[in-house]
C-alpha cells in the first residue's frame, strides 16, 4: 500500500510542480511569438522609416512615432487625472472618512475596476465626447483629452485601492506620535503618513499607469483614431491614435505575413517590453510588502 501511495504522491507532486512553472513558460512563449512575428519587420522596413512621422500602411509608410506620441500624450494626460484624484481619494478614505463610509466607498471604487473598458468607451462616445465638444468648442470631441480622462478613470480603482492599503498599513503609532507632538491632523497626513506610505503609493501609481498604457478598447473608441504626431501641448485637443488602438483597429484587416502584419507585432513587442519594465520596477517594491496578492488582484 505504501508503495502505491508513494508513487501517487510523486506523480502528483510532479504535475503540480509543472503547473507551478507555467507562468514562466507563458511569459517566455508570449515573448517568443511576439519576436517571431515582429522581428521580420526590422528587415522589411528600414529603422529610419520606422522612426518616421507618417503612419499610412496602405502606401507603405510605417512611421510609428505618431503612435508612440499618441500613447504618451494620452498616458500623461491620464496621469494628471489619476495622481491627484487617485491619491486624494485614497487619503480621504484612509485618513479622513469615518470607518463606515470607507467600508461603503472603497468597494464602490473597486467596482469601477470591474467595469469592462468597452462600456466606459461606449459612454465616452455618447456622453463624454459630445460634452467636451460643446464645452470646449472643438470640431470633434473624440480627442486625446477624452482618452486621457477615460484612462484616468480606468486607472483610478487600481491606484486608490493599492494606495489606500499602503496608507492603512502605516502603524497607528506614527499618527498618534505626530498628534501628541502637537501636529494638526493635516500636518500628520502630509508630513508623516504620506511619506511613511510613500513606496506603496508610488507602486499604486506605477501599476495604475501600467494599466493605462495597455488599455485598448476605451482609447480606440474615443481618441478619434488619427495617427498624427502629437508633440505640441495643443495636441491634447486633437484626435490621436495610440499603439494599442492601432493594433486593435488594423490587425483584423491585414494579410497574414505581410509587412504591415509584422510591424503591428513589432508594436506589440514594444508594448510588452514597456509593461515588463513597469512591472519589474513596481514589483521590486511589492516584494518588500506582505500584501502581494492583493496588488496583483486589484
Amino acid at each position: 500500500m505504501n508503495k502505491t501511495l508513494n508513487r501517487r504522491e510523486t506523480i502528483i507532486s510532479a504535475i503540480i510542480k509543472t503547473c507551478g512553472y507555467s507562468a514562466v513558460l507563458f511569459v517566455i512563449l508570449i515573448f517568443f511569438f511576439l519576436l517571431r512575428e515582429g522581428l521580420p519587420a526590422l528587415f522589411e522596413v528600414k529603422l529610419g522609416a520606422l522612426l518616421a512621422t507618417r503612419w499610412y500602411p496602405i502606401e507603405n509608410h510605417f512611421g510609428i512615432l505618431p503612435l508612440i506620441t499618441g500613447s504618451l500624450i494620452v498616458t500623461m494626460g491620464a496621469m494628471l487625472v489619476a495622481i491627484p484624484f487617485g491619491i486624494g481619494t485614497a487619503v480621504f478614505l484612509s485618513e479622513i472618512a469615518p470607518r463606515w463610509m470607507r467600508e461603503i466607498l472603497k468597494p464602490l471604487v473597486e467596482l469601477l475596476g470591474g467595469l469592462p473598458s468597452v462600456v466606459l468607451g461606449f459612454l465616452g462616445i455618447l456622453v463624454l465626447s459630445p460634452f467636451l465638444r460643446v464645452f470646449l468648442d472643438l470640431p470633434t470631441g473624440l480627442t486625446a483629452l477624452a482618452g486621457a480622462l477615460l484612462l484616468g478613470g480606468i486607472s483610478i480603482p487600481t491606484t486608490v485601492s493599492i494606495a489606500e492599503d499602503a496608507l492603512d498599513s502605516v502603524p497607528q503609532g506614527y499618527r498618534e506620535g505626530a498628534l501628541a507632538l502637537g501636529a494638526t491632523r493635516w500636518q500628520t497626513i502630509w508630513r508623516v503618513t504620506l511619506p511613511a506610505a510613500c513606496s506603496g503609493v508610488l507602486t499604486a501609481l506605477m501599476l495604475g499607469i501600467g494599466r493605462t498604457i495597455g488599455e485598448t478598447m476605451a482609447v480606440m473608441m474615443v481618441t478619434g483614431n488619427a495617427p498624427v504626431l502629437a508633440i505640441k501641448l495643443a495636441s491634447i485637443f486633437h484626435p490621436v491614435r495610440t499603439m494599442t488602438a492601432t493594433i486593435a483597429a488594423e490587425m483584423g484587416e491585414v494579410a497574414k505575413g505581410s509587412t504591415h502584419y509584422h510591424v503591428l507585432f513589432l508594436i506589440g513587442l514594444v508594448l510588452f517590453i514597456i509593461s515588463l519594465g513597469v512591472n519589474i520596477i513596481a514589483s521590486s517594491v511589492i516584494f518588500k510588502s506582505k500584501k502581494r496578492a492583493e496588488r496583483v488582484l486589484s
Binding site: L108, G268, V296
Partner: protein
C-alpha cells in the same frame, strides 16, 4: 525670529482637508453617475425578447441572444483551462515551493502576466493558437487566450487563500500519518475553497468583460446562428457593444444602452456572487 500663529496651521488644515474631500467627491460622484446612468438608460430596453431573440435587420432590431450565449461559452471555456492550472500553480507556490531564485522568477512572471496589455494577449493568441496551432478564429483560441490572461489573478487569489489556512492544520494532518498530498486535498483545499472560488470568479469576471484579446482570436461581427462547436467563431457581449456603438451606422440608441446594461449585469453579477461567497465563508470560518 519669525513665528507662525497657530491659527495659520489650522487654516491650512481646513484647506487641505477640504481639497482632499473635494477630490474624493469628484472621483466618487462620477462613479455613481456612470452606474446609475447606464441602469436608467438601459433598463427600458430590457425585455424577454431582447435577451432571447436573434438580432435582425442588420442588428438594428431583435435581441442579443448570440452575444449572451457567446460570452457564456467563452467564460466557461476560460474556466476549463485556467481554473485547474491556476489552482495547481497556487498549490505549488503555497505548499511546495522553497523561497529561492526560481520561485522568485515565478512570482515575477505572474506579476508580469498580470500587467501585459490585453491587446498583446490578442496578438499572442493570434500567433500561437489561431495560426501556429491552426485552431482558427474560434471559441477554443479565444478561451485559451483569455485563460492565460486570467491565470495570474487566479494564482494570486488561490495562493493567498491557501496561505491563510493555519499551519497547525497541516501539522496535525501530517502527524496523523497523512501524506503531503492527502493533507492538501483533504485538509487545506477544503478550508481554502471559498477564497479560491472568490478569486476564480473575479478572474473570470475580467475575462468576460474583455474585448481586445478576442478581437482576432474568436470574435465574430455577426452570426445568424449560435456557435455549433468550439471551433466556430462566436459573438460576445463586449465585442458586440463595441461593434454596435462604432461600426454600425443608424443603430438605435436603446439597443446600445440595453447591451451595455446586460454586459454590466453579467460582469457585476459575478462580482456580487464572489462577494457573497467571501463574506459567508468569513462568518463560518473555523479559525
Amino acid at each position: 525670529m519669525k513665528r507662525r500663529f497657530p491659527v495659520d496651521r489650522f487654516l491650512i488644515q481646513r484647506l487641505g482637508v477640504s481639497v482632499i474631500t473635494l477630490t474624493a467627491l469628484l472621483t466618487i460622484v462620477p462613479i455613481i453617475g456612470v452606474f446609475s446612468y447606464i441602469i436608467a438608460k438601459g433598463a427600458p430596453a430590457l425585455s424577454w425578447e431582447f435577451l432571447t431573440a436573434m438580432p435582425n435587420s442588420g442588428m438594428r432590431a431583435g435581441g442579443i441572444l448570440p452575444a449572451i450565449v457567446g460570452t457564456f461559452y467563452l467564460t466557461l471555456g476560460t474556466a476549463v483551462f485556467s481554473v485547474p492550472l491556476g489552482i495547481a500553480a497556487a498549490i505549488y507556490l503555497a505548499e511546495y515551493a522553497k523561497e529561492n531564485w526560481l520561485t522568485r522568477l515565478i512570482r515575477i512572471a505572474i506579476i508580469n502576466l498580470a500587467g501585459i496589455p490585453s491587446v498583446v494577449y490578442g496578438l499572442f493568441g493570434l500567433g500561437l493558437f489561431v495560426l501556429f496551432l491552426k485552431f482558427g478564429t474560434s471559441i477554443l483560441s479565444a478561451s485559451l487566450t483569455l485563460s492565460i490572461m486570467t491565470l495570474p489573478v487566479i494564482i494570486s487569489a488561490a495562493e493567498e487563500a491557501l496561505r491563510a489556512v493555519p499551519q497547525s492544520f497541516r501539522t496535525v494532518s501530517i502527524s496523523l500519518g497523512g501524506t503531503r498530498w492527502q493533507t492538501i486535498r483533504k485538509i487545506v483545499l477544503p478550508q481554502a475553497l471559498p477564497g479560491i472560488i472568490t478569486g476564480v470568479i473575479l478572474g473570470l469576471e475580467r475575462a468576460a468583460g474583455e474585448t481586445a484579446p478576442i478581437l482576432f482570436t474568436g470574435a465574430a461581427f455577426f452570426l445568424p446562428h449560435l456557435p455549433g462547436s468550439i471551433l466556430d467563431a462566436t459573438m460576445a457581449l463586449p465585442y458586440h457593444l463595441f461593434v454596435i456603438s462604432t461600426q454600425v451606422p443608424g443603430m438605435p440608441i436603446q439597443i446600445q444602452y440595453g447591451t451595455a446594461l446586460v454586459l454590466i449585469i453579467f460582469v457585476l453579477g459575478m462580482n456580487l456572487v464572489a462577494t457573497v461567497i467571501r463574506s459567508r465563508a468569513r462568518a463560518k470560518r473555523q479559525w
